[in-house]
Subunit: 206 residues, 2 copies
């Protein structure tokens, strides 16, 4: 991150420890207070830094929470579990575990809501959170196509559309189950979801 700005390499450098402390304090505040009652002054106090330091690095609450929540998604990975169904179940369970955390619940949806009126914020969310998830989905699909479980699209545009569709269906279902319906996306639910995603509703029941 520092090497992104080769200019201005003189002067006292910014404390990396302060960055980590601020983001951790933001997550703690999200857990205890939730999005609406989280104040930047409180976060600064928790992190042991001055409020002005916080404002020097982030434009506001939105950007700060995006960065704080984005770190939660670092643990997402997609090991080869041998079949498309197993891969889907694995990544969905990981995603559900992250969304089960209170700091993700209250923080993520709030910034998404704000992003509907802020293009820069939308781009930030896309770059630091959504794109990473999307890449996992595309990798899982490519893997399944190599196994012969999924057909290869001839048209590149069609392939892109299908990739986006799968992504929205997977992530959307988990988010909706967790945040709107208010239920946990446990193993039983994930099995049922994967079955419908791969075979469709019209497939005969197990």
């Amino acid at each position: 991150m520092q090497s992104r700005t080769p200019a201005a390499r003189t002067g006292r450098p910014r404390s990396a420890a302060a960055d980590a402390a601020i983001l951790a304090a933001t997550r703690a505040a999200l857990v205890e207070l939730g999005w609406s009652k989280l104040t930047l002054g409180d976060v600064a106090t928790r992190a042991g830094v001055a409020k002005t330091t916080l404002y020097r690095r982030w434009a506001g609450k939105n950007e700060l929470v995006v960065d704080a929540v984005a770190e939660l998604f670092d643990e997402l990975e997609l090991p080869d579990r041998g079949s498309l169904a197993a891969d889907v179940e694995g990544v969905v369970l990981q995603f559900a575990a992250i969304l089960a955390r209170p700091e993700a619940k209250s923080g993520l949806m709030a910034v998404v809501a704000e992003s509907t009126r802020d293009a820069a914020l939308r781009a930030r969310i896309r770059g630091s959170i959504v794109e990473r998830q999307m890449r996992l989905v595309l990798e899982g699909r490519a893997r399944a196509q190599r196994r012969g479980e999924l057909a290869l699209e001839g048209d590149p545009a069609e392939a892109a559309r299908t990739g986006e569709l799968i992504f929205d269906m997977v992530a959307g279902a988990v988010v909706h189950r967790t945040l709107v319906s208010g239920n946990q996306a446990d193993e039983e639910w994930v099995r049922g979801f994967t079955r419908v995603l791969l075979l469709g509703l019209t497939a005969p029941s197990a």
Copy 2:
């Protein structure tokens, strides 16, 4: 709504016109300002009522926006279009049209985010928004089962689980497509979605 409270029928009645004006003003403020910059004082001014009147009827911003957004979903209906696929496409397009409105985008997600830390608010959202959508899904499924397009579940618990799963998949995909991915759920997308929902990813491409 008035008949719900048979007690306290004496004194000056509350103005129903004020209710409508306040909810309309709330939606207008959501469009112009978005969730975070919406203030109750501003809504009261727009509606032509005193701020105190607003506080007498709603506990706060969360409850007010839920009621204001809930009215948008009054137009949802599910006419029999002859097949399960057509029914799904129809209701998804209606849902997408509502979510495309700016007042729905910024308001709905924000209150859902708040509801992760407020059980009463969660119940309010469920009762006035989510349950109505859920009923449409269950009706569409029952209709498809009558047509013979979907199998009948023997176990009632299994039937309930499947109903919830379908609901989360349908609503979640549209919400995610619209708000997170930031794309429009147009007819082409809805066709692709319906195909995957009914036939599964592994079905051969058209």
